[in-house]
Symmetry: C2
Subunit: 149 residues, 2 copies
C-alpha cells in the first residue's frame, strides 16, 4: 500500500480513536484538535474509513465515531488501504500478457518487487491498532529479524 501523509494521518486518527476507549462516540473535532489535523481533511478520511467498514458513525449532536471492530482486529493495512491506493511495486500489470519490458517474459526484477511487496504487506497486516495504542509496536516478525542480525 502507498505510504503518504494521508495514510499516516488516517493511522494517527484511528489510533487516537482507539485510545479513547472502546464504545464511546468520539466527535471528529476532538481528534482534529488532539492530532492537529484539519477537520475537513479528517472528515474526508473518515468517510473513506467508514465505507471500508472499520468504523461506525452516529450523526447529529453528541454523535461521533467509534470502532466497528475491536482494536486488536484492525490492522494497519486495512486503514491505509481505505484511504490510499494499494502500493504498486511492479512495473508490469498482472493481466497483461507481456511484462514491463514489452516482451512476453517477466523481467529480471519481477520477483523482486513481489518479494518486497509481500515483505511490507506482512508488516502492515500483522500490526494492529491495539498494538500501536499499547506501544507494543514491534511485532514478533521484526523482533526475530533484528535478533538475527
Amino acid at each position: 500500500m502507498k505510504l503518504t501523509a494521508k495514510g499516516r494521518y488516517a493511522v494517527m486518527a484511528m489510533t487516537d480513536l482507539a485510545a479513547q476507549g472502546a464504545g464511546a462516540l468520539i466527535p471528529l473535532s476532538d481528534i482534529a484538535a488532539r492530532q492537529k489535523i484539519s477537520l475537513s481533511f479528517l472528515e474526508q478520511l473518515f468517510r473513506q474509513i467508514r465505507r471500508a467498514g472499520l468504523i461506525e458513525s452516529q450523526r447529529g449532536a453528541k454523535g461521533g465515531y467509534r470502532l466497528e471492530q475491536a482494536a486488536a482486529d484492525i490492522s494497519l493495512d486495512q486503514i491505509i488501504l481505505a484511504v490510499d491506493e494499494p502500493i504498486k511495486t511492479h512495473g508490469c500489470t498482472p493481466e497483461a500478457r507481456h511484462g514491463c519490458t514489452g516482451s512476453s517474459e517477466r523481467c529480471l526484477t519481477h520477483d523482486l518487487w513481489g518479494a518486497l511487496e509481500s515483505h511490507i504487506g506482512a508488516f502492515m497486516s500483522s500490526v494492529t491498532l491495539a498494538d500501536v495504542v499499547a506501544g507494543r509496536v514491534t511485532p514478533s516478525i521484526v523482533l526475530d529479524m533484528e535478533a538475527a542480525e
Copy 2:
C-alpha cells in the same frame, strides 16, 4: 527509501548491467534497448548512480559502464538511495524538539513509523544485485518470516 518508477528503473538497469558480466563496458544504449527505458532518462539515472560510487564509466566510443564493486556487494538500497530521496515515514522531523502534533512529546504512532522504516530497510539492504540476477530474490529474513507464520 522512496519507491518510485525512477528507483525501479534504476534497479532494472543495474540488474541488467550486472547480468552482462563482470568487467565488460556496457553502453547505455544497449541497456535502454533491452529494458525499454528511454536513453535520456537512463543517462540521468546513471549519472546519479555513478556519483554514488556504484559504477564506473568510460567515455568515448566503445565506452560504457561497469560495476564498481562486485554484484554481491551492491544492495538495493544503495541503488535506490542514489536516485531517489530517502523514504520518510515519520511526520515529525528528527531535529525538531516537538513531534508531529506540535506538542513536545512523540505521538502515539512515532515508534510505529520507525519500525516500519527499519523493516523495509532491512529488506532493501539485505538483497544484493547478485541475488536478483541469480533469481535468489528471497533473503533469509523473508524466508524466516514466512516460515514463522
